[in-house]
């Protein structure tokens, strides 16, 4: 018997969410969405329990998690950084800004720093094209970014 360990409170929450969607296999995406909202990410043991609750193979759940870029198996940092890669931001140099974030933090897209402070992601258009290029750290928006501003911004959180 292979065992997967999960804390009681986490398991209870996951079961509640699955039950709220009638434990239906067809609701897998909604369930994953909400569970990730709750815990910030979807580690293997969480997917195992969801699979059991919805009565679908865990391979199927893993297939969904890895297909949609929204889902992540890596915990987000204390300060999640999102770089807008929408058209307006992109043409105004978002990629250079992104590269500078990568260099400063020493991590790639979808990764989290070893101290758990920062994680880095891209997104498409936050609706602030006038401020392009734009990045968000947590809920805070930073506009008209240039690579040389990155170091100072990060220092605000250190």
């Amino acid at each position: 018997m292979a065992r997967v360990k999960l804390s009681e409170s986490k398991a209870k929450k996951i079961k509640e969410i699955c039950a709220a969607y009638g434990n239906k296999a067809g609701e897998a995406i909604n369930v994953l969405h909400q569970v990730q909202g709750e815990f910030g990410y979807l580690p293997a043991e969480v997917q195992e329990l969801i699979a059991l609750e919805l009565n679908v193979p865990v391979a199927t759940i893993y297939g969904i998690v890895t297909f949609y870029s929204f889902f992540t198996m890596i915990p987000k940092g204390e300060h999640p950084i999102s770089i807008c890669m929408g058209t307006a931001c992109y043409v105004r140099g978002a990629e250079k800004v992104l590269d500078e974030f990568k260099r400063q933090l020493g991590i790639g897209i979808g990764e989290t720093t070893a101290d758990g402070k920062f994680s880095l992601n891209c997104l498409r258009c936050v609706g602030a094209c006038g401020l392009a290029p734009v990045a968000m750290i947590g809920e805070k928006v930073y506009g008209r970014l240039t690579p040389d501003m990155v170091k100072d911004i990060l220092n605000e959180y250190k």
């Binding site: 018997m1 193979p57 893993y62």
Partner: protein, 608 residues
């Protein structure tokens, strides 16, 4: 009364709707085909071949893989701007289809060239070489160079005890995924990741052996390329044969003899038992024995166990577990250990014929020869991929020495025969060696779905009623329907029997048993569609299930050809009990011929 009438009316309406015919033209040929069919199916019925790659169908087994992803089957439909995938486009009235216009041929070639652009070009040494559908497609389309140079996938190789996944060769046809999830309901495989990174893999991309995989190998049978194949052990067997210190014994499963001929140009359903025995002797095995002997032995043990449980049940013992489930099929054993851990005391404890043979060979026969078990090598030829896993299970070893050392598939045997430069077709028939090569017709039919239960009934009837069986053939137990049931009259006592083949069907039946919705005395389950004749170690049928149907007929023909057709009449089985085991289900057989099962389910443990 009225509602019954309405129902009849409704049914007749449905049948009218079903019969609606569509007129269309394919390649200038006027065709009438049933509404709802795809262009591909309509063309096939009309005898027009449209090449396919991702499409996979098992006729009569309700399995169709139709992702429409490879685009090899594109055709031109007049009045439609783009080309249409024939597998996923429904026929319409007045449709005019061209399957090989210049536009179609060019597009089809480009599609295959693109598939080849990131496909490893190690065809010469690939395990699927000669049986690869991509290879034959490239050949058919006259592709001589690959104009596109793209990135190459570099995924790790996954070597399980039975199946090798070499995902770099995967063309994402999703056949394996469909077979694993829909036909077998095993759910080990799923498409994961996206874009160029996309692969078919297990949950968390773990090794196959750590997943819910049962090693049934139907994915290997379905894979059109070399992405999935069995672990090849022909080299180890050749080495053992050439080791003068080893006595090498071979056993062949019943289903092999009705399929091996296909590898040498014989039509499906040709019985090549005699040639096979001759070929094995030419290869150099010291003793050419038969798994059928062990199948007869299985009936003695399993049949006795069944009758024991039935008589206890009739005497009012409430603890007795019925139905008894057969346990010959290693894919099935893996499946219930993973999916029905609450029912581990239900299956028969009898080992499979492969393992019974190994235990008899390495104990009884080794003693007779006066050699140590370590100096004996037992090789089995199986229609099966899961048998490779089974013979490596720890409970089938003694001090690390396995009862069965190597399990080869029918395909690997064909390879061996070719490697040894044996002209198979001109071989004269030979017999198996005695005593472990003696068998009855009851053992032969183990190879087809329903065969084990029929063999058990032939013996159990006579033991239970103490009367000779008048009619040996129980045709009510035969057939290729996925789930079947029949009641056999044991001289006034009705015995209810269930049969399932394909693990999806087995799951359905077992769930009913678990809920108490059905009452059977015994159930036979085989993991592969058709039973062992449709096993994953057999010559590739590429989805043509009529090949399996012909093997099915051949199995029952071989049964008819046998002088003895009831396991308990096998004189060498009687001798084995007299000399060695004493009685069926006795102490010695309990030790050597029976096994136990393990809970392999996945449980989420909640920490307080």
């Amino acid at each position: 009364m009225q509602s019954a009438l309405n129902k009849d009316l409704l049914n007749s309406k449905i049948s009218v709707v079903k019969m609606e015919m569509i007129n269309l033209t394919i390649d200038g040929k006027a065709i009438q085909a049933e509404k709802g069919l795809s262009i591909l199916k309509a063309a096939r019925i009309a005898g027009i071949d449209i090449p396919t790659l991702c499409y996979y169908e098992l006729n009569g087994q309700k399995l169709e893989n139709r992702p429409g992803g490879c685009r090899v089957c594109v055709v031109e439909v007049e009045g439609r701007k783009n080309l249409a995938p024939a597998c996923a486009t429904e026929i319409m009235e007045g449709m005019v289809v061209h399957t090989h216009s210049l536009r179609v041929v060019n597009a089809r070639r480009t599609v295959v060239e693109l598939i080849l652009s990131d496909h490893p070009s190690d065809c010469l040494s690939c395990s699927k070489s000669g049986h690869c559908e991509l290879q034959s497609l490239a050949q058919k389309l006259g592709i001589r160079e690959i104009p596109f140079k793209g990135a190459q996938s570099t995924y790790r190789k996954d070597n399980s005890p039975a199946i090798i996944r070499d995902v770099d060769k995967c063309i994402m046809c999703r056949r394996c995924e469909t077979v694993c999830n829909q036909l077998q309901t095993v759910g080990a495989l799923s498409a994961v990741n996206r874009g160029f990174e996309a692969v078919v893999a297990t949950a968390f991309e773990q090794d196959l052996v750590k997943s819910s995989c049962t090693m049934c190998g139907q994915c290997v049978m379905a894979c059109p390329v070399g992405a999935l194949s069995e672990v090849n052990q022909t080299r180890q067997v050749i080495q053992a044969i050439n080791n003068p210190d080893k006595t090498v014994i071979v056993q062949t499963a019943p289903a092999v003899r009705v399929a091996l001929g296909e590898e040498f140009g014989y039509p499906a359903g040709t019985i090549v038992t005699g040639k096979m025995a001759a070929a094995l002797r030419r290869i150099g095995f010291d003793y050419v024995f038969d798994t059928d002997f062990a199948a007869d032995l299985t009936i003695m043990e399993e049949g006795t166990e069944l009758l024991g449980r039935i008589s206890k049940f009739m005497n009012g013992d409430k603890d007795v577990k019925l139905p008894i489930l057969t346990s010959c099929c290693p894919g099935w054993v893996n499946f219930f250990e993973t999916n029905f851990p609450d029912m581990l005391d239900v299956p028969s404890t009898a080992k499979s014929p492969q393992q019974m043979f190994g235990a008899v060979a390495k104990n009884y026969w080794a003693e007779k020869l006066g050699i140590k078990r370590e100096d004996m090598v037992v090789v089995s030829i199986m229609p099966c991929v899961a048998k490779k896993y089974e013979c490596q299970r720890d409970e089938f070893k003694e001090n690390g020495n396995p009862d069965v050392d190597y399990s080869l598939t029918t395909r690997e045997l064909a390879e061996l025969i070719k490697q040894f430069n044996i002209d198979f077709n001109s071989l004269e028939d030979e017999d198996f060696d005695m005593p472990l090569g003696a068998s009855t017709g009851a053992a032969v039919i183990f190879g087809a779905t329903g065969g084990v239960i029929e063999a058990a009934v032939r013996t159990a009837y006579e033991v239970f009623t103490k009367k000779p069986l008048e009619k040996v053939d129980f045709t009510e137990l035969r057939g290729l329907e996925g789930v079947r049931e029949a009641t056999v009259d044991f001289n006034g006592t009705p015995i209810h029997l269930g049969i399932a083949h394909g693990l999806g069907n087995a799951r359905k039946l077992l769930e009913k048993v678990r809920k108490g919705e059905v009452q059977y005395h015994a159930i036979e389950v085989m993991a592969c569609p058709g039973g062992c004749i449709g096993g994953a170690g057999q010559p590739y049928h590429h989805g043509d299930f009529s090949i399996v149907e012909k093997r099915f007929e051949a199995i029952y023909q071989e049964d008819k050809n046998k002088e003895l057709r009831k396991s308990h009449e096998n004189p060498y089985i009687k001798q084995l009990y007299d000399e060695y085991f004493g009685e069926p289900c006795g102490e010695k057989s309990h030790h050597l011929l029976h096994t136990h099962y393990f809970d392999k389910s996945k449980q989420v443990e909640i920490e307080a």
